[in-house]
């Protein structure tokens, strides 16, 4: 082959590959950068209401003007239809590549989120790592509210949920996980839920789904109990009270500070073992928790191993109590298998699962769950006994 032929071939190949390139050029200041999308359901012939949180470039210059973010709301027949309608009001092209959070309103979630999930799953600009959260009222409310310190509430929510993931404050879910779990058999979704109070956004708990519909709400305490069963924890707090103080009146009611002991959970191991005893399903949950003492206000000598054993027992009791409460709630109130027990049965006893798939909800409601907690207190922080005033 001559050099000219070779050169032509190279040029031809390169020109052909040009047609494969899917992106086109646009300057950053010709884009409306979306950082949050909220979807709500409203009555009427345009039932879908989308609220976008957009970056306001004027506020980012060296001489800032106005708020950092602006919210715009549009209504339409479908999600894509509504997104297109934004161009009626926005001079710049909408860019979803930097979206952080997708928020579903409560009303919409109760009607089912599948029809809206598909758009987000299909759209090329949306990242699969977007957080999905619910609003206790409407998504619009959450986007219009603020987070303390943060200029942009949605990037604040992003940081906040990242901390949730890191320190096990509560269950969280990303878009890709949502889409994957939706396809699972024998596992219901739990999505974090936020509320708005005095124009500030705060975490409330989690929304519990059955199929794609929201059926109930757990507060943050039960959400954490749920977390114990969902995954291995790192971080997280357990507070118990000294012997003699009123055990049942735990965290919420009393306003007087009691003599309490707090533990920081260092790491946990969790195992869900499904069993079939005489054809009847039963679940054994094994939990092993290691923790460190972060606060100790009791009288017993911490240098005595017996005290530690006692504390370990108390911690185990507390953990067990929390988990039991959550399971009770899921079985009695929601009747939705958020723990994935069904999935565990499907894996271990596929034949049983095939037969009982249809009436799993009934089985779950009456499922016997045995909980075994092994607790260890391995550290006492950097001191041993607390200060005693003399």
């Amino acid at each position: 082959m001559t050099t000219i032929k070779k050169l032509l071939l190279v040029i031809l190949t390169l020109t052909l590959t040009l047609s494969l390139v899917g992106c086109h050029s646009h300057e950053v200041n010709d884009l409306s950068i979306v950082v949050g999308i909220g979807v709500d359901y409203v009555e009427g012939d345009k039932p879908i209401e989308v609220t976008l949180q957009l970056i306001n470039p004027d506020a980012l210059t060296m001489k800032p003007k106005g708020e950092t973010v602006t919210q715009i709301t549009m209504r339409g027949k479908s999600l894509h239809d509504t997104m297109r309608r934004f161009s009626q009001r926005l001079p710049k092209e909408i860019y979803l590549g930097h979206n952080q959070v997708i928020i579903f309103g409560k009303k919409l979630a109760e009607r089912g989120i599948t029809p809206f999930l598909d758009y987000f799953d299909r759209e090329t600009q949306i990242r699969r790592s977007n957080w999905v959260i619910l609003s206790k009222t409407t998504a619009k409310d959450v986007l219009n509210a603020e987070l303390p310190i943060e200029d942009i509430s949605t990037t604040g929510i992003d940081d906040l949920l990242y901390n949730f993931q890191r320190l096990s404050y509560g269950p969280i879910i990303r878009l890709k996980e949502l889409v994957i779990y939706m396809r699972y058999e024998g596992r219901s979704l739990v999505v974090p839920l936020f509320k708005v109070k005095d124009n500030y956004i705060s975490y409330y708990g989690s929304g519990v789904f059955k199929k794609d519909k929201l059926i109930g709400i757990m507060d943050d305490k039960t959400s954490r109990g749920f977390l114990w069963l969902l995954q291995s924890l790192e971080g997280g707090n357990i507070t118990t009270f000294c012997e003699g103080s009123d055990e049942k009146a735990t965290e919420e009611e009393s306003d007087e500070v009691k003599n309490h002991t707090s533990f920081l959970v260092l790491n946990t191991k969790r195992k869900i073992i499904p069993k079939l005893i005489d054809g009847k399903p039963k679940v054994l949950v094994k939990i092993e928790a290691k923790s460190s003492i972060t606060e100790y206000n009791c009288k017993d000598d911490l240098q005595d191993p017996k005290t530690i054993t006692k504390l370990e027992q108390k911690q185990a009791e507390d953990i067990k109590y929390r988990i039991e409460e959550t399971i009770k709630l899921a079985q009695k109130e929601f009747q939705s298998d958020i723990f994935g027990f069904g999935e565990a049965f499907r894996r271990k006893y596929p034949r049983f699962w095939k037969k009982n798939k249809k009436n799993w909800d009934d089985l779950f409601t009456n499922l016997e769950v045995e909980i075994e907690v092994k607790s260890l207190v391995t550290h006492t922080g950097i001191t041993s006994n607390p200060v005693i005033p003399k």
Binding site: S25, H26, I55, P57, G97, T155
Partner: protein
Amino acid sequence: MWKLFKKRKSKLLNNQKSEKVEIPITSDVNKTKKKIKSTFNNCSDVIYREISIGKNNLPAIIVYIDGLVKTGEINEYLIEPINRLRNIDIQDNFEETIIDVFAIADMKTISNMQEVFDLILSGEIALFIDKLRFAYVFSEKGWDSRNITEPESESTVRGPKEGFIESIRTNTALIRRRIKTPQLKMEAFKLGKLTKTDVVISYLDGVVKPSLVEEVRSRLRKIDVDSILDSNYIEEMIEDGPFSIFPTIQYTERPDKVAANILEGRIAIIVDGSPNVLLVPTILIHFLNTSDDYYESFYFAFFVRILRLFAFIIALFLPSFYIAITTFHQEMIPTKLLMSIIGGRDPVPFPSYIEALMMELAFELLREAGLRLPKTVGSAVSIVGALVIGQAAVEAGLVSPAMVIVVSVTAVASFSIPAFNLAISLRVLRFLIMTFAAILGLYGVLISMLFLVIHVVSLRSFGIPYLTPLAPFSLSDWKDYLLRFPWWQMEKRPLATETVNQVRQNEDRPNPPQKSE
């Protein structure tokens, strides 16, 4: 067209070719004098000194060019001894008597007039004596030249502070002083039909690959041009890949660098009138190394070399990368970084590419202006540059602050590349890649990178692939080229230069005596 052009060119060359003419020297000194005077017609710097030798007043004439010889020494060692012969009767066979009186070591007898002319022009003294059919030529060259100073373009923190100057003898002496062995050869050439420039190739016999020396010789012999005023004339003539933007011959002003490279089996080409000595063969990595690397701690040198590689990549790709990701791939920028980029870019009315082009051109202009101006005015240029480009342009909303940072980081990176000629080619290439990036985004950057790599891999310098320790992969050469191992670990010369004698030192590092048992 091309053929026609070529034909015309070769015709021209043939016309210019001058034959070496043999003009015998006549025994009549008056005739000789006439001949010289007609040759050096209108040359006011040629000095004729008529003199008579001995009792019988044998006429003689001394010819030299004023300014090229040490006049005081002519008087002392040439004219005075001749005057002392005044009382002596000059016989027919007087050559021996006369030779004894000259107190100059470098003396030759030459019978070809043309050759004598050439020698006079290069600063030697000719003595014609009546009845002799040859001339005595003395070498007592001495002209004003620059002092040996520290080379400004390649200064070091540690290490010798000597630099080459414009006089070739001084330069060869500077090398010879570093390598004291008869193996160090200094082959002389005279190139340029009118300038008759002295060119010396210097190499270490017994180390250098013989065919390499032969190649350099033959390339130099093929040069047929009327003038050689700087080493770059030769560089461009003998370079492989004459159209390549990458330099394939290295130049340096440092004698220690030349010595070190000669010891590694490379060849130095020293050109009279130029303080820049050429080194062949050259690979890309040579341009990224400095002599400081060998004089400082090897940890530091190691670090700096890696840093320079990064600088190389930044100087070439940073602006194009910035253009590509801000105009095509916004999703690649972390959200919070994007916020600050948007904030800066919001008031800017131009596309990123135009913005980058403006800034880069403004920077190149400032650099060029600063380079050509006298040093005292040069600082004024940099003040204007810093104020206008750095601050005013951003405040006026013509340029975004992020772009200022990108351009200045690129500038700093390109300044930290030690070889000026490589930095120039990177600058030109940068504009090209920026255009690709503006049209096609990162895909364009990749395409240009592809072309660049294809080109660079195809380059050779005197038979050695340009990307040597990388492209024909040779891990042992990384010791000295890419990284910098301690001296006691570099037992062999680089493999790239294919030296005949590879061993540099024994394998043992000088150690304190080991305790027996």
